[in-house]
């Protein structure tokens, strides 16, 4: 097979991170608790879980969110998913030292689109299905489109560059970061806000329950006893910036975006190709795109959903790529602490990977304690671990066979 990719990403840095998770309403709280091995998974209180098989989730506490100041008051009355996105965007810009002016900002917005305002719209759907009136208010429908949170960020922060909303289920925001880096590399914009947001709702809660893909206990990624995922919610925004632009304004980078790979396994809507061969192709495509050798990879932030099929197929892919070295490269799944945040998951994981590179600490796989021969990796049990990282993978797999792998690296 000919080489998949031929262009290099060039100097694209991550200069800011905003994180909203069940562990905290900001980046630093999330990081501190994540590295300490704490879990954000607990009783679901967002809606009544009566009748559902499971009753837990990694739910965000809205009370701690800091929303950006905006000339549009309406952005303060947005959906849960949009509030996560707005808070994450504001935090990321502040972290990057990019100040907002009254002028328009010609930056790109590349976001992974998830359920958007579906949680709020479910009340409308329920009412209509029960024969109730058409609509009481307009607000419950306005944010149903999956790009509504992206629109809200643009509206609140006066962003006028390209606005892209990718929706490939659980790999959405991984791809968003990769696309954002391409926009920057191609010179279309100097700065892109990349990431994604997703909020818990009855649809996904019922759907994953119907597939028996959720564990009634908190998820245990890569663990022999794993019985499924825990659903979560949250948002991440990463400031993806041209290195020359960042240097000129004295920004401090977390990491470089070295490249990414995205393929489809063309196998099944909900199950990964089990041998790991398809996922291997994505990893190899990403390594080739980044110009990184397997031996340069010091850390993998895995997809690690804690379903039987995902974790074994994922580890099989790593075994195929890294050979005997697979047991030496730390592979952590932060879904054991943050739940599976679906379309936001990849962005959150990319953000954590960038922080791990900058701080020389890899987060643990919370929930893991019993090794599984099917998953012969080092899942970093317990708490975070010091680890110098030259290059790292942030790996995602999604419904429909859409896998994406980002390669981030240390800035020299």
């Amino acid at each position: 097979m000919p080489p998949l990719y031929s262009r290099r990403m060039g100097e694209v840095w991550i200069t800011g991170v905003g994180l909203i998770t069940a562990l905290g309403p900001d980046r630093e709280t999330t990081w501190r608790r994540l590295v300490a091995g704490e879990s954000g998974i607990g009783p679901l209180t967002l809606f009544d879980p009566t009748g559902f098989r499971t009753r837990i989730a990694a739910q965000v506490d809205l009370s701690g969110l800091v929303l950006p100041e905006s000339r549009f008051p309406s952005v303060r009355h947005t959906s849960r998913a949009s509030r996560f996105a707005l808070a994450a965007a504001a935090e990321a810009l502040g972290d990057a030292g990019l100040t907002l002016s009254a002028e328009a900002h010609p930056w790109a917005l590349v976001q992974g689109g998830g359920t958007a305002g579906l949680f709020e719209a479910e009340a409308f759907v329920a009412r209509r299905l029960r024969g109730g009136p058409l609509v009481r208010g307009l607000g419950e429908f306005v944010e149903v489109p999956q790009d509504a949170p992206t629109d809200r960020i643009a509206q609140a922060l006066n962003i006028t560059g390209p606005r892209i909303t990718v929706t490939t289920a659980c790999s959405s925001s991984t791809i968003a970061v990769g696309l954002a880096a391409e926009l920057v590399r191609d010179g279309e914009v100097p700065v892109a806000l990349a990431g994604g947001t997703d909020a818990l709702c009855r649809l996904t809660y019922a759907g994953f329950n119907s597939l028996h893909a959720v564990d009634i206990e908190p998820a245990k990624p890569f663990d022999r006893r794993r019985k499924g995922l825990s659903l979560g919610e949250g948002a991440a925004v990463l400031i993806v910036e041209d290195a020359a632009h960042a240097r000129a304004r004295g920004a401090t980078p977390y990491a470089r975006v070295l490249g990414y790979g995205v393929t489809n396994d063309a196998f099944h809507m909900t199950q990964p190709e089990p041998s790991g061969a398809a996922w291997e192709r994505t990893v190899r495509a990403a390594l080739l795109d980044a110009g990184v050798a397997e031996t340069d990879v010091d850390y993998i932030n895995g997809h690690g959903t804690a379903t039987e099929q995902n974790d074994s197929a994922e580890c099989a892919a790593y075994r195929r790529v890294f050979g005997a070295r697979v047991a030496e490269v730390p592979v952590s799944s932060i879904k054991g602490a943050l739940g599976h945040c679906l379309c936001a998951a990849g962005g959150i994981e990319a953000a954590v990977t960038a922080m791990a590179i900058a701080r020389g600490v890899v987060p643990p796989t919370t929930g893991f304690s019993e090794p599984d021969p099917e998953c012969p990796v080092d899942p970093v049990p317990g708490v975070g671990r010091n680890c110098g990282i030259r290059a790292a993978l942030s790996s995602s797999f999604a419904f429909g066979g859409n896998s994406a792998v980002l390669i981030l690296g240390r800035v020299a």
Partner: protein, 368 residues
């Protein structure tokens, strides 16, 4: 697949008919039908095996049938390794009907009875993913959900995939289904046409274009340039300031190596909503100055949506490629400022999209 019927021949017949207007009417529970142009004669017979068709939801079936036609058009043997063929798709509402069915069970029966077979179809990327599975296409498979701009985004990002050599060919698609939840929501927002109120018609359709780098099979047209921008606005409203949109059009034209005066045809994005018509009139007069390319309306005949953007691009490609000269006059807001229907074959076309919320995208197509 369009409201005109199955396949490109049905589209060509419609474009050649000055009086064509899609038939409207989407039924819904306990209320009058909604103004949606649906694919009334759609069938998967002779295209998909029944066992395959029945596991796909409607937008996936629509797209699968359109994609079969597109793939067949590049000839036999298939010129690329299927693992190196990608899919990009734009959609406004794929997954909505499946979503409603899952929620129907949750709300009217019990959450534990939610149908596992339907849940995977609730994700908007289901049609593109099902297409990948069905045709064994292993390249990047991306779906864009950007309301009216999604279908054009699929074309632009398909081109980016090709330029980055992430694939050798890309099926750039759009697919939208007629669904009552989406239509009812926009009806409630006052966006849809009624007997007493100007507004948009929604379009159910699926369109698939094969994008490939040269050298390749004989092309219909060349994708010469594209660019996008945004103007901040609430998600359900169009912006009023066309400056960013005009800038995106200008960048797309420059990227194509041309100037505005080189554009022969504009495929109008106007969909019947008065503020969009006003926006388009202001934008195009600012972009073109005294130059007046020919213009045609499409969204006012077929309706609007994400896939309708891909359909506008297909119409432009067929027109600059010399396959058809559309007989569809533009809406009055463009005629009033001098934009006329084409009388000769245009060689270059500008196709634009603007979504509620303010995201915009422009592509330039030229005769190959």
């Amino acid at each position: 697949m369009t409201p005109a019927g199955t396949g490109v021949p049905a589209l060509l017949r419609a474009l050649a008919d000055p009086g064509f207007q899609a038939v409207l009417g989407l039924p819904r529970p306990d209320a009058p039908p909604l103004p949606v142009a649906v694919c009334r004669d759609f069938s998967t017979a002779n295209v998909l095996a029944p066992l395959v068709a029945r596991r796909l939801d409607r937008p996936s079936r629509l797209l699968a049938v359109a994609a079969r036609e597109a793939l067949a058009s590049v000839g036999d043997p298939f010129p690329w390794e299927r693992a190196r063929v990608g899919v990009t798709a734009g959609t406004w509402n794929a997954g909505t009907s499946a979503l409603v069915e899952v929620l129907r069970t949750v709300f009217l029966s019990s959450p534990e009875e939610a149908p596992p077979a339907q849940f995977p179809s609730t994700v908007a990327n289901a049609p593109a993913s099902q297409l990948g599975i069905l045709e064994k296409l292993g390249g990047p498979n991306l779906t864009f959900a950007e309301k009216q701009v999604g279908g054009l985004r699929a074309i632009a990002e398909g081109a980016r995939i090709l330029l980055a050599r992430r694939a050798d060919a890309v099926l750039a698609c759009g697919t939208d289904e007629g669904d009552w939840l989406n239509a009812e929501g926009y009806s409630r927002l006052g966006s849809l046409q009624t007997a007493n109120h100007a507004g948009m018609v929604l379009c159910e359709c699926a369109v698939a274009l094969v994008l490939a780098r040269e050298p390749g099979p004989s092309p219909v047209a060349t994708l010469a340039g594209w660019a996008s921008a945004g103007t901040p606005a609430p998600p359900h409203l169009y912006p009023t300031d066309p400056a960013s949109f005009v800038a995106a059009c200008s960048r797309a034209i420059v990227r194509a190596g041309m100037a505005p005066d080189d554009i022969d045809l504009v495929v109008s994005m106007a969909n019947g909503i008065p503020p969009l018509a006003e926006f388009e009139r202001g934008a195009l007069t600012a972009l073109f100055g005294s130059h007046r390319p020919a213009a045609i309306g499409v969204a006012d005949r077929f309706g609007d949506g994400a896939a309708a953007g891909t359909l506008r691009a297909l119409t432009a490609a067929l027109t600059v490629g010399g396959t058809v000269t559309p007989q569809w006059a533009p809406l009055p807001h463009l005629r009033e400022v001098g934009f006329r229907p084409p009388t000769a074959r245009p060689r270059t076309a500008l196709v634009t999209g603007l979504a509620g919320g303010g995201s915009s995208l422009a592509v330039v197509l030229t005769a190959s």
